[in-house]
């Protein structure tokens, strides 16, 4: 037993019993209390027991959402149309996959070998209710709310605290991790269009405490996370003692606490202490613990390593990882952004698709061989597809003859894991990939499916900043996927 001369009444870890009580009771980093509260919140959202028999219900412990911001061309990746006229079918040929009857574009040779693990939804479709830009569409995809709520003035607008919450934030709140860990992570960079960053990707009216942890580093480079590493000179006990001191001092100034409550400072401090003291997050971000050949297989580029990092994070307990496509629309054909208004083909074949192909296919394979695919829902989708006809303007943007414009009316998403059918196609597009021919799927139904898979009823009521009741998403899950 450790005892410090002249300072009686200490337990061996440096705490007096009274201090221990205070720590536990004051929510500073009292895991027990915060977990109790989380459990209570979760219990409130618990759906009727009858759901237990509904296909896919509560099968997912984790979600990896690969958000292909920019809007990839569905015809040139997952829904080839070899019989369509030349200015629609484009330059690529279809290839067979391991699943008989499912073809992909030749741009996806590796994914073709893993198609027996996933379902393609080839009839994702919506009509923009407002502006026809990326920000509006991302907001629609990730919050489930119509894009006309984004910007009444017609301009791109930065995120606002009254926005509808992004899916990652709803999940962070309703299904917090079972262990002290970042509840949701968005990586390797935020959502973006033009200078508008993170619209549709914040906690909005849930409050900033439920914002995802935004990485904004390239996982293909060493990740610097000094903040998550306990400093050498500060032992765990010392940090705990400091935290207790802060707590006591703050209690002496209740009016200031109240005045700054809108900043959710306490919640952030609580989370930060949990993370630092557990060291869990720190290790999850360390990709050097992975074998080199696996890292190679994912692809030594930002997207591939982001997929690998996503797997490590869910293994460490993160509930929701969103991998945003690393490049942002900027009109430069040499940048691997999906927004191919010009030069659709060369860059897709040589620049974009090889990265998507290695990252996504390896993620499916890796999750499956670890037994994680059965408890992890993987979704890969963009905010829209691209116009089947080349060189026409559908969004008001100019398009080169070899470019494709925005196309939300029919495109493809990939979904896998957590009981989703393996090697299947749901829905069907017409002969040119322009409209759904069967089973049109509004993107809000994909969100509903994500919540459903996590055991969260899509009709769960949450309260906005005005205390008005709002459904998580006004859509039904797609039960036929399971």
């Amino acid at each position: 037993m450790l005892s410090i001369p002249g300072r009686p009444g200490r337990t061996c870890d440096g705490f007096t019993r009274r201090e221990l009580l205070r720590v536990g009771g004051a929510t500073m980093f009292g895991l027990s209390l915060s977990q109790y509260l989380f459990l209570k919140e979760t219990a409130a959202a618990e759906p009727p027991a009858g759901n237990a028999n509904v296909p896919g219900w509560n099968k997912a412990k984790h979600v990896i959402l690969i958000f292909l911001q920019g809007g990839p061309s569905h015809l040139d990746i997952w829904d080839p149309k070899p019989d369509a006229p030349a200015n629609i079918r484009g330059e690529f040929k279809p290839i067979e996959t391991v699943v008989k009857g499912i073809q992909l574009s030749e741009t996806m040779p590796k994914l073709a070998q893993q198609m027996d693990k996933a379902t393609l939804i080839r009839s994702v479709s919506y009509t923009p209710a407002g502006l026809f830009n990326h920000t509006a569409a991302m907001y629609q995809m990730l919050t489930g709310e119509t894009p006309d709520k984004v910007s009444p003035t017609g301009q791109l607008e930065p995120p606002s605290p009254t926005d509808f919450p992004t899916a990652a934030s709803h999940v962070a709140k309703l299904r917090p991790p079972d262990v002290p860990m970042l509840a949701s992570v968005m990586l390797p960079r935020p959502l973006q269009e033009s200078h508008v960053i993170q619209k549709g990707g914040t906690a909005g009216f849930l409050g900033k405490a439920y914002d995802p942890y935004f990485l904004f580093q390239d996982p293909n480079e060493p990740i610097k996370l000094d903040d998550l590493t306990l400093r050498q000179e500060v032992s765990k006990i010392r940090l705990q003692r400091r935290a207790t001191l802060v707590q006591t001092l703050n209690e002496g100034m209740p009016e200031l606490e109240r005045a700054v409550s809108g900043y959710a400072l306490n919640k952030y401090y609580e989370q930060a202490f949990d993370l630092i003291l557990s060291g869990r997050a720190r290790r999850a971000f360390d990709l050097t613990e992975e074998p080199t050949d696996l890292r190679e297989r994912y692809g030594r580029h930002t997207f591939g390593q982001s997929c690998l990092l996503a797997r490590r994070l869910i293994e460490a307990g993160t509930r929701f990882v969103q991998v945003n496509w690393p490049a942002v629309a900027n009109g430069n054909p040499n940048v691997d952004a999906w927004d191919t208004h010009a030069a659709n083909f060369g860059p897709l074949k040589n620049l974009h698709c090889p990265k998507l192909d290695s990252g996504l296919s390896t993620l499916l394979w890796d999750l499956d061989q670890r037994g994680l695919l059965d408890e992890t829902l993987v979704v890969a989708i963009g905010e829209f597809g691209r116009s089947p006809r080349m060189g026409v303007s559908t969004s008001g943007n100019g398009n080169a003859p070899d470019g494709r414009d925005h196309w939300p009316y029919c495109y493809t998403g990939l979904i896998a894991g957590a009981g989703v059918k393996r090697g299947s196609v749901y829905g069907k597009s017409d002969a040119t990939g322009s409209t759904p021919a069967e089973n049109p799927v509004h993107p809000s139904r994909i969100l509903a499916t994500v919540y459903h898979a996590l055991g969260i009823s899509p009709s769960t009521i949450v309260y906005n900043h005005l205390n008005q009741p709002r459904e998580l998403v006004k859509a039904e899950p797609i039960l036929d996927l399971f």
Partner: protein
């Protein structure tokens, strides 16, 4: 905020439990019903508008009846009064409204209980004018949303049919309807077969759904217009000149109550129309009050909102107050230090809000030092100020003078202007950044009058190293960018929308956008030695309007009596007009901006979005401040001195029962998270450990960094330093995030400052001072005040139970930094 209130803390749970018990014990008849009924008795009636003139057979006009309650406020009684026409010259119509029957003078008799009132109505004529495209048809398209940005008003139209966005171009719209598609949209021989009638009634499939029914009033107007030949009066009929609403600026007593409105359009020829049914209404704060399509306001909770009205390119804002239950409120007079207090307290009194307490001297010295110099006071300064026996108000004013004269003031405001003017290596190179910043520095140090400062920025020419103000044009470069930045920064106007179409909520038009941009069309740049450029004005160079590719002549968006936009060069002409004292936006924009820096919120907010539909929360205050600023000769130090001298600026954070729900009216101080630079400098000041920035001498503080490319371990960017890519205040983020708390707890910046062997903490720990004295010094350095006895006890216990005195002192400094008392300007 709501957010926090919803967190089920133990304290709240207890409060709920005990609250329920108290509630159960409370007598049910807290306020006798009879007493309440008496206070709500109606004692007088008022009708708005006060008299009506019906100009022709189709002229139908609404009115509103209000009743004054015994308690002095007004409620809408329109639904509850009995209405009778005085004779058969007029008839009542739904609304309620009056419709003409015969020419002559008449009236509507209004009765409520024993009270009566009379609304005079004159029928001037019973002629039936023909349907006007401009005044009758276009408003229907706008009201139905046909020309909205999500329907046919979209840039590319919708399904092959395009209208101008919200009808800003009637000529285009007439052509689209009556000329295009070989007469199918308008069928003059068989009007009912016109697509213009078939589509909205879904006689043929319409993606936009059913807009109005066959034979509805809208349908009949459009059909009649086609029957009469679908003629255009675009050139000959003037559009509406202005709108007017009744009742003006209503105060609705309680949530749940309704208030009707009547909206009148005035035309340049002196005629008017009741357009209540055609106006598009919206509420700027729907949580306070919502508005229905017929203009009826429904109060939801105590607060203020603006009801915005849009009709055919005209805009009107009716400010609405929902008073809420304020029984028990009594105004207690508080001292007024200057005209700011007069204006703020007048509003508070009207809105039944009690002003907060005066802040303490230690709160004041920290707050005002951060606001004027960007850095908290040194412990010695705090000690001296608190010990000074001079009357508080006098010594506070003296302190302000000292701060305004300090070098730290110059550094801080130089940095602020460098943000707003986008002093960024990307545009100017190293040397350009240096000379431009130096020029700003000298201007701040000399307290160059603001109008002169802006004039030089807008007109400077020559070699950019010799004439550093010319660097501003190098940053702006293009006429469109110059237009948008100059209007946003110096006039507080967001002109961007008007680049592609008329501003949807404001008077700014697309033409005005290009006319304003034309002032920058003749600026030219020529490379010169040393990375400099020569900035000069040519006599040629034009801006073209995207519609028709025509050259647009420079013209200001509005005239004012002070100065015409004339001068030897286009830039000088613009500067003359822009910086004139009579320009209603120029001084107002900077006054509002500076106010927001010191009070945490603009009188108009956001500060760079001045428009009629975003009214000030206190117009009297803004006007008085603006007038005072202009009178002072655009003296920015005078403005800062005036604001900091007010009692309003010196309010405490702490709220009382009567101002705790107020965040708009400056009834108490709002805590503001320290900006990135303030935070870094405050840490350095507290620990007396000054960071070393790469490539710069030691002793430089964050506010002195030349531009945002200077790395500071990511700290400044993490805490929201603006990237200087635009003049928008929104570039700076003062939010809190998880990454920030991780950094505060565990990051290198604070750790190194606390552990610095030369720093304050190490010096104190090594000193011969007693533990109590060490603690006092740390409080003075970090919180700018002495510890309370309770804080002293807590700190002492910690210090003495730590591994060493040094560790204990480090812990204490760390803890004080990691509190809202440090992280916020309070």
């Amino acid at each position: 905020m709501m957010q926090a209130n919803r967190q089920p803390t133990l304290r709240n749970l207890l409060a709920i439990v005990f609250g329920a018990i108290l509630l159960a014990c409370r007598p049910a008849h807290a306020e006798p019903a009879r007493e309440r009924a008496a206070s709500e008795r109606i004692v007088a009636l008022r009708i708005e508008p006060a008299a009506l003139v019906l100009a022709n057979r189709r002229d139908v006009r609404r009115f509103v009846v209000l009743g004054r309650r015994a308690v002095g406020d007004w409620v809408d009684l329109t639904d509850r009064v009995r209405l009778t026409p005085a004779d058969d010259r007029i008839a009542l119509a739904p609304g309620p409204a009056v419709r003409p029957q015969r020419v002559g003078q008449s009236a509507v008799e209004v009765r409520y209980g024993a009270l009566t009132a009379r609304l005079p109505v004159r029928v001037a004529s019973m002629t039936a004018p023909s349907i006007s495209f401009v005044r009758d048809v276009m408003p229907i398209l706008s009201r139905a949303g046909c020309n909205s940005g999500t329907c046919h008003g979209a840039g590319a139209g919708k399904n092959g049919f395009k209208l101008s966005l919200r009808g800003y171009d009637p000529e285009f719209d007439y052509a689209a309807l009556a000329v295009d598609v070989a007469g199918r949209r308008v069928n003059r021989t068989e009007p009912r077969q016109s697509l213009l009638l078939l589509k909205p009634t879904q006689g043929v499939p319409h993606m936009g759904g059913l807009i109005f029914e066959v034979d509805s009033p809208e349908y009949r107007v459009i059909r009649q217009w086609i029957v009469e030949g679908a003629r255009s009066d675009v050139g000959s009929t003037a559009r509406v000149a202005r709108l007017e609403a009744f009742p003006k600026r209503p105060v609705v007593p309680l949530p749940g109550m309704k208030q009707r409105q009547v909206v009148i359009a005035h035309y340049p020829d002196g005629t008017t129309r009741d357009v209540t049914e055609q106006v598009v209404f919206s509420s700027s704060a729907r949580e306070v009050a919502s508005v229905e399509p017929d203009g009826t306001i429904t109060a939801a909770r105590r607060g203020e909102t603006a009801i915005l009205m849009r009709y055919e390119g005209a805009y009107y804002t009716n400010e609405v107050t929902v008073m809420g239950d304020r029984r028990g409120f009594r105004w207690t007079p508080v001292p007024e230090y200057n005209f700011i207090d007069t204006a703020v307290y007048r509003k508070l009194r009207r809105f039944k809000v009690a002003p907060g307490e005066l802040c303490t001297d230690d709160e004041f010295i920290r707050r005002v030092s951060l606001d004027l110099t960007g850095i908290p006071p040194a412990p010695e300064a705090v000690r001296r100020f608190l010990a000074d026996p001079t009357e508080s108000r006098v010594k506070r004013a003296r302190l302000v003078e000292e701060l305004l004269d300090s070098p730290a003031y110059v550094e801080y405001w130089t940095n602020k202007w460098a943000d707003l003017l986008q002093v960024n290596r990307k545009y100017l190179g190293d040397r350009g950044v240096w000379v431009f910043r130096q020029w700003i520095r000298e201007a701040v140090a000399r307290n160059l009058p603001y109008d002169e400062f802006v004039r030089q920025l807008l007109t400077a020419r020559g070699n950019s190293n010799d004439q550093p103000a010319a660097n501003y044009m190098r940053i702006l470069r293009e006429p469109a960018v110059a237009n948008e930045n100059v209007t946003q920064l110096f006039l507080g106007v967001r002109f961007q929308c008007a680049k592609c179409h008329d501003h949807p909520f404001e008077v700014w038009t697309q033409n005005q956008y290009y006319q304003f941009a034309a002032y920058f069309a003749q600026v030219e740049f020529k490379r010169d030695d040393g990375g400099a450029e020569i900035v000069y004005d040519r006599t040629e160079g034009e801006v073209k309007h995207p519609k028709g590719d025509r050259v647009v002549a420079p013209r200001v968006p509005f005239e004012h009596p002070g100065a015409k936009a004339e001068g030897p060069t286009r830039r000088e002409a613009l500067a003359r007009w822009l910086t004139a004292p009579e320009n209603p936006l120029f001084a107002k924009a900077i006054v509002n901006r500076v106010w927001s820096y010191l009070l945490g919120r603009g009188i108009i907010d956001p500060v760079d979005d001045l428009r009629n539909s975003n009214p000030p929360v206190n117009a009297e205050l803004l006007d008085a401040l603006t007038a005072d600023f202009v009178r002072s000769g655009f003296d920015l130090k005078h403005l800062l001195r005036t604001i900091t001298a007010s009692r309003v600026y010196q309010h405490r954070i702490e709220t009382n029962r009567w101002n705790e729900d107020d965040r708009l009216n400056f009834s108490h101080a709002l805590p503001r998270r320290l900006t990135a630079e303030q935070l870094l400098d405050a840490i350095a000041m507290a620990t007396d450990s000054w960071p070393k920035f790469p490539g710069l001498p030691r002793g430089i503080r964050a506010a002195q960094l030349p531009d945002t490319r200077v790395a500071a371990g990511g700290f400044l960017d993490l805490f929201g330093r603006p990237p200087r890519e635009s003049p928008c205040e929104c570039e700076r983020s003062n939010e809190v995030s998880l990454s920030q708390t991780l950094n505060l707890i565990n990051g290198a910046t604070i750790a190194e400052a606390i552990n610095d062997p030369e720093g304050r903490v190490a010096r104190l720990a090594k000193s011969t001072l007693s533990d109590e004295e060490v603690i006092t010094e740390i409080y003075l350095a970090a919180w700018c005040r002495y510890p309370t006895p309770r804080e002293m006890a807590t700190s002492l216990a910690h210090l003495r139970s730590a591994g060493s005195r040094l560790e204990g002192a480090q812990d204490l400094m760390w803890a004080l930094i990691n509190t809202p008392a440090f992280l916020f300007n309070r």
